[in-house]
Point group: C2
Chain length 368, copies 2
């Protein structure tokens, strides 16, 4: 079939929005009509060549939509199901999946690295003979996508797809970082470095978990204002003075947890410096490949921990429907992170430009 | 009273073994006749000025002995009790003690930083009017010591004090790093970077916990040979080729856990590189203050964790008697780490020289 898609042919060139061919779903694959896709900063790393990916590639990894067709052997979704597509693929069989850490899935890493469909490592997108990579095995900047059935999670039909699409990556990452990886307990303190979509979701997760003090750090006053609206107790403008000292003052010697969601080596260092002895720093942001994090060795003598995570350590099938329920129940204001909406794939380049320029918190593109 | 002690008057000068005055134990303090003290690499950092400490200071922090006198209010030990002295002090009341992390005790950090007795911050050692610091609130390179009652743990009387003294720091640190901090489970893999006293104890702890593969890394063939004797499955000589690559080969892509017990920033980096995605690296060694650990940011995208620990996260009153029991039952060959014995404080400088030169695994000084 034909579908329109946003294609990156070379790093640092504009996306080309064009009609491409999409092959039929094969074994365990499904065809999804995408109704909304998030515009996530992570794609920019690939589009700018800061992280390697095969080209050409159809970008986008925060999609939601409706199942239109299922290939042979599909058991987890049916035609008509509403689904959110997952940035991290889990095979359900490797050691990580077996241990309850599906975002660390071995097959998932290979899907990320090859930008092909899981297991078969094939591509279903092409223009004539030129096949195109599926970013994260998804390629959501398109009207239709063929993905592995385990790349999507079925959700309730009354949830707005143009909000919960962001649970495919950014919002679940932030929620999971606070709830699953930090494991914030009532009364504890947490500082979130960078309150874009991921950081704001981390604030929501910490609020939900009963955190005693939630501190948001950012250079952007608009993002800080929004952080307060979704549950942060204190704001620190990182462009005024030393933010680490301010966090130290606010917490009386360091927070119990810090989350780095700015994606910079420097911020990772600050996030680690801002926790107390015995505290835990969680790196969620994707810093440019090749950047180094420099940590004074004595900080380890303080019993401090720094850990990385993929998509907030969520268990896709378990946590995504829960997050959707909590949003629908008014417990987490997921929609508040959406500052801009676009209505056509033609606006893909503008959407990324505005995101990189810091003009938007999070944006989505509605399709059709 | 008078006692002989080994005093460091200035960094990088020989210890002066001399007769000093020791004041009576005050409230909650005890007088201990020290029968054996370990010679631990950590003292060298202070003696060489690599870590700050007030001077003059009586060194030594791995002591064992017999309680000779108790001050007012002492309830946990009695005259005649056999005790091991603890490098980390725990007050029993701060947030860390309350959380079951007594080696992170707030008062303990102050004792370490000030090298005075806990709470009162006083010194009991002096020559005339010149008072001397107690390293770690202990000062075990002496025939007698006055310490806070919580600086020692009562143990069974049939245990040889000239072995279990090493549980005051090195051996409990290694055991605890494997058992408490890594939490090695049966069948898992662990790589120990640096198999001096701490690393060898980490090997023993991992063996006890049922580790599937224990890899010892060191440049010293004697230490590697001993690691095999106490339970290591594989040896990697770090002076031949790239040890990280060898660990990767032996584990098929990285160990579940790594322990850094060499006390060098470079080894911390290697230890972190040698774990698998989602693995955990535990820093136990004390690298020179001021040294930096440089970590590629992408390693956090692999879900890896690096954490520091004080004395292996042991709970003094709980774990030390257990470790003594297990040694007495033949389950952990603690005595195997002792390669050299000295019989007088006069040999203190020689003991440290031989330790630094790598001529000994671990040594102890027997007193009287």
């Amino acid at each position: 079939m034909k579908t329109r898609a946003a294609v990156c042919y070379e790093p640092n060139t504009p996306l080309k929005v064009e009609e491409v061919e999409l092959d039929e779903p094969k074994v365990n694959e499904v065809l999804i009509r995408i109704t909304a896709t998030g515009v996530c900063h992570t794609d920019l790393h690939f589009m700018k060549g800061e992280a390697p990916v095969g080209m050409p590639v159809v970008v986008g990894h925060e999609g939601a939509g409706i199942v239109e067709k299922v290939g042979p052997g599909v058991t987890t979704v049916q035609v008509g199901d509403h689904v959110v597509m997952m940035v991290s693929f889990s095979c359900g069989q490797c050691r990580f999946c077996a241990e309850g850490q599906p975002t660390m899935c071995t097959v998932g890493f290979s899907v990320m690295a090859t930008a092909t469909l899981p297991f078969c490592m094939e591509k279903r997108l092409h223009v004539g003979d030129q096949y195109m990579h599926h970013l994260f095995g998804l390629a959501t900047f398109a009207e239709y996508a063929v993905v592995h059935e385990r790349s999507c999670v079925k959700i309730r039909e009354d949830a707005p797809l143009d909000v919960v699409c962001l649970l495919g990556c950014g919002l679940s990452t932030g929620m999971g970082a606070s709830i699953n990886v930090a494991g914030v307990k009532p009364g504890e303190s947490i500082v979130i470095w960078g309150v874009g979509g991921v950081g704001l979701a981390a604030v929501m997760g910490a609020r939900l978990a009963g955190a005693g003090k939630i501190i948001a750090v950012d250079k952007n006053p608009k993002k800080l204002a929004l952080a307060s609206k979704v549950g942060a107790d204190c704001k620190v403008n990182a462009s005024k003075g030393d933010p680490v000292s301010k966090v130290m003052e606010l917490t009386g010697g360091g927070a119990d947890y810090s989350i780095e969601s700015a994606g910079k080596a420097e911020t990772i260092q600050q996030a680690f410096s801002s926790i107390r002895s015995g505290g835990k720093c969680i790196v969620v942001g994707m810093a440019p490949i090749g950047s180094m994090v420099n940590i004074p060795s004595y900080e380890f003598l303080l019993g401090k921990t720094i850990t990385g995570t993929i998509q907030g350590g969520i268990r896709h099938q378990l946590d995504i429907p829960r997050y959707v329920d909590m949003y629908m129940d008014g417990k987490i204001p997921l929609d508040k992170v959406i500052s801009n909406r676009y209505h056509s794939l033609n606006e893909a380049n503008e959407a990324f430009r505005a995101l990189e320029a810091g003009e938007v918190i999070r944006s989505i593109i509605e399709l059709r």
